[in-house]
């Protein structure tokens, strides 16, 4: 099986199946959900094959596929993965299955809903495996369309504002990336990402390219101050949309930084790391406070996402400050590893939290914290899951939420005491907004009749939350396999970015 074009299959099976599912909707509506689920499961199994065949000892690209796409411009359909992309692909296919199970009850045109998610999943795998910059760009932009539809059709009352904001923000950012890619193509004559990694560029040009990439990816992450589309998008998105947005799409920003910004423009990254670090620290502390003030559960989790993604961007850019401070690179890899782990972990935890809000929303049709109170009385098992996930969100050791933050804070200390200090405030702020929400929603006497009538988790909800709970605890207790997957690539990346590309 390992000689199959696994990456292509992972991209195109769901996309092709999506058309089938959409067509089925008219003729055999009953088959829509099972077929979509089977397709998602096949993708997931294929990604596990990928994992099984993955060689963790090398940082080289594996499972490569390459054919000419647009010969005139030397654009290739070139795919491949290393330790930085594989975990994200596994996350994508897993979340794909969970979303379909969780959205079993969608009644408004379920065939189109599921088709949109399948298309989105294929495109996201494409983003994580593209080794040609133009191919990456196409997947990156194409992804906006299904997400636009998901929020715009199945979203809440204010969905039009949210979709347009979401679309304009991301589109605005990515235009700059396109300009940078074209400029580099004109200089180097290639769109191949790996060749661009080694292509020397003068510092001044690097700075422009770096900034262009930064705008594109900062919007996606999102970093402060280009984050305000996220809370709106989350609030209006249906549960599945929020889950995929938080769990996977935000990671594309972090992935872009690690695949493009750092290796292509290392000198500019070294010169401007203060900017990224500064914005990350603002995200962690400032957004931590903002999250505290939210009264809408989805907004609170959205802000919490921004704050946690601050650890990703912080961890990725610590290397240069560490080298300046200590004269060696010990700790740099720790920061990048921490950032990567944080992305995966945040995928589990934010996904789980949005699913948990979905469980409540399905029953009570409200996202307001104030509409609840004493849910633990009527839904004790659900409360157990919720406490676990919100504890994980506040970085409790033994859960995945701890691993990445711990590593990033340890690495930040190597760079500067104050980086670690500000990042460490998440220990207090993260716990404050997470557990205060738990207190207000789950604890106390039954607040109203609606809460009094709540039924505890159904079988599908049990399944989805259990899978995520096992992963959250599993990664927290034994992150070794996850980190092992990325270690060679991280080491290679650190070595690469420490070499100047200025000639």
């Amino acid at each position: 099986m390992l000689d199959w074009p696994l990456l292509s299959l992972l991209i195109w099976i769901p996309i092709a199946a999506a058309f089938g599912v959409a067509a089925l909707g008219v003729r055999a509506p009953k088959l829509v959900r099972p077929v979509a689920l089977i397709v998602a499961l096949i993708s997931f199994v294929l990604s596990l094959v990928l994992y099984a065949g993955f060689d963790v000892t090398t940082s080289a690209m594996q499972f490569q596929e390459k054919t000419v796409w647009i010969g005139a411009f030397d654009v290739n359909y070139h795919l491949g993965i290393d330790g930085l992309s594989l975990p994200l692909i596994l996350l994508t296919t897993l979340i794909g299955v969970l979303i379909i199970v969780a959205g079993w009850r969608i009644e408004n045109q379920p065939h189109l809903y599921l088709a949109a998610f399948l298309v989105l999943q294929g495109l996201m795998v494409g983003v994580f495996s593209a080794l040609d910059a133009l191919l990456f760009y196409v997947f990156f932009e194409a992804m906006l369309v299904p997400m636009f539809l998901i929020i715009g059709i199945w979203g809440g009352p204010n969905r039009i504002y949210a979709t347009i904001k979401f679309f304009l923000f991301t589109f605005f950012g990515s235009v700059f990336m396109l300009i940078a890619l074209i400029w580099m193509y004109l200089q180097s004559g290639t769109f191949a990402i790996l060749e661009l990694h080694d292509f020397p560029i003068a510092l001044s040009a690097q700075i422009w390219i770096f900034l262009a990439f930064l705008i594109a990816f900062a919007v996606k992450v999102p970093m402060w101050p280009v984050h305000t589309w996220l809370p709106d998008a989350h609030v209006e998105a249906p549960t599945g949309g929020s889950v995929v947005l938080a769990a996977v799409m935000l990671k594309i920003g972090g992935y872009g930084l690690v695949r493009f910004s750092l290796p292509i423009t290392p000198d500019a990254a070294a010169a401007l790391d203060w900017l990224v670090i500064g914005l990350s620290l603002v995200a962690i502390a400032y957004i931590g406070f903002v999250a505290l003030a939210q009264s809408d559960m989805k907004k609170l989790i959205a802000y919490s996402s921004i704050s946690h993604m601050g650890f990703v961007t912080l961890g990725l850019f610590l290397a240069f400050a560490i080298a300046r401070n200590t004269g060696e690179t010990t700790g740099a890899g720790l920061g990048i590893t921490g950032a990567m782990v944080q992305m995966i972990s945040h995928g589990f935890i934010s996904g789980a939290m949005f699913l948990a809000v979905g469980v409540l929303y399905d029953r009570m049709h409200s996202r307001e914290i104030g509409a609840y109170g004493g849910v633990a009385n009527t839904m004790p098992w659900f409360a157990m899951f919720a406490v676990l996930f919100f504890m994980a969100n506040s970085g409790l050791p033994g859960t995945s939420g701890f691993v990445g933050e711990f590593m990033v804070i340890l690495a930040a200390f190597h760079a500067n005491f104050w980086f670690a200090f500000v990042a460490g405030t998440t220990l207090i702020l993260g716990a404050a907004y997470s557990l205060w929400l738990v207190k207000r929603v789950f604890y106390g006497e039954v607040a109203n009749e609606g809460v009094g009538k709540l039924k505890d988790l159904g079988r599908r909800e049990w399944l989805v939350l259990t899978v995520l709970a096992v992963l959250v605890i599993g990664v927290g207790v034994w992150p070794y396999p996850l980190i092992e997957m990325m270690e060679a690539s991280v080491t290679n990346l650190v070595e690469h970015i420490m070499q100047s590309k200025v000639e």
Partner: protein, 653 residues
Amino acid sequence: MNIETVILLIPLLPLIGCLIAGLFRHRVGRAGAHWVTIGAVAGSFLLSAYVAWEVFFNGLPVLDYSVYTWAVADGIRFEIGFLIDSLTALMMVVVTFVSLMVHVYTIGYMAEDDSYQRFFAYLNLFTFAMLMLVMANNFLQLFFGWEAVGLVSYLLIGFWFRKDSATKANLKAFLVNRIGDFGFLLGIAAVLMYFGSLHYAEVFGQVGEVEGTTIAIFGATEWSLMTFICICLFIGAMGKSAQVPLHVWLPDSMEGPTPISALIHAATMVTAGIFMVARLSPIFESSEVALSFILVIGAVTALFMGLVGIVQHDIKRVVAYSTLSQLGYMTVALGASAYAAAIFHLMTHAFFKALLFLAAGSVIIALHHKQDMREMGGLSKYLPITAATAWIGSLALIGFPFFSGFYSKDLIIEAVKLADRPGVAFATFAVYAGVVVTALYSFRMLYLAFHGPTRMDEETRSIAHESPLVVTVPLILLAIPSVLIGYFTVEPLLFGGALSDAITVRAANDVVLALADKFDGPFAFALHGFVTPVFWLAMLGVAIATYVYLLNPSLAERIRARAMPLWTVLDRKYWFDELYQKVLTGAGLKVADGLSRGGDRTVIDGWLVNGSARLVGRMSGALRQLQSGFLYHYAFVMVVALVALVASFVLLK
């Protein structure tokens, strides 16, 4: 079974018990849950006792090994592993023994609770977490256990989650602890950076080389690295072991059911900070400044928290403030480099304080959840066993000679006197004054609850009766070590070098060694105890309590009226809660609200995002005016422009 399997089973048994009782709570039922969890803890206790036997009597060498590799990142190995030496063995036995007693007691205490199984599951989970903490051989696992016990403490304080006061208290406890953990984590980060490892042994081995390092934090001022690390780590201890000013969560934690007040908030978890400093003694020994800091913080806690205990009416809160004060004593001992004395007091305190809490709990069950001592009095007639054991616990607490608390407290006081570092004078005063205070609040509690005229109403009096055997047997089993454990262990633990494989003290600081010369056996030491000032200070406290609260009850009210300002200071607990809740939390929420409304909604979204959208809209609106669709408008513009163009060519030429 080889020894490593035995050791692994010790924390695993309660973890498995927790999973069974928690996840299959309906399947196993109430009795099933308590049998499974008690069986697990009993197993843990027996195995711990076996390991302790091997360590103390059969010369089992120090074991330090990895169980599994948690992660390897950037060449740094993060391991989960165990360090089994005398200190660990002692802690394991104390933890599992007290835990076992509390488990049994819980059968009686929680008999009528709907969430019986959940409670037992939490108790097992706590035992697991605490064991992981004390058995750790590295900082990562220490931090894991540290936060995991915090989690269980959170869950148990809020066990009765319908009560608003309980869920306020658990949130407060978790957040205050997180402030401590914030410091703790920075300390760990500094250790990793400068020692390149989180493994205790590797870190301890390098203290000599790293000691001279300085770091700049504020501007160019250089700080001693070791002082920085020690203070950061100690901030963690201040949170967990409730030292001023991070003590505010402990009294509120009394909202939880009494068994956990005994287990978590008296005997074990709150002593984790003390244990941590003792465990890391090789590091702490390298900073005189940090030790002075610890000494002063401990002294403040020991004296001032004890004082608050005098004015409490809630029987559990008296014991809670007493716990704060005793933790202060242990901290003072740490600050005086008398780590062994601190651990010794930790052990004796675990027994007698768990006893006092469980006795208070027994009173509370008997009175159907009344905790106010103003509605008690004369209970010794109704609850003879509880009263007797409470007397034993109190005598141990005030340090009456021959009782376990006598040995540990007296040695702390002697050690502090011998110490030589800034703050010792104040600490000496505080520990002496604390003796009077301890005796005063302890006997006040005894008299108000168990003696004098009863103030119970008719209904309560008719139901008050001695608690069932599952409650009284643990009381008795805890009363035995409360009396005897000091007598039998003082010599080996402090002067026989039983802890010397775990605790490092520099020769110049070794006050415990200096005490050894004066010590000639536990019997003579206790006899001598009757003629020391400490004893007479305690008797002074007892005398005041007897006169004011037993012989002359109306006097208390008069004193209070006369000393109103002082009483208010104590009653308001020095306004710490007001400061934190109104000022700090209030300010935090204001900042949150300000940033959310002002920063995100007004500036970023209002001005920048929607503002630029509006700007585009307005500009396009203006441009739209040009495209009126009337042909003569366009023709007019064309003619005018043409004229202007031609004119410009002509004129400029």
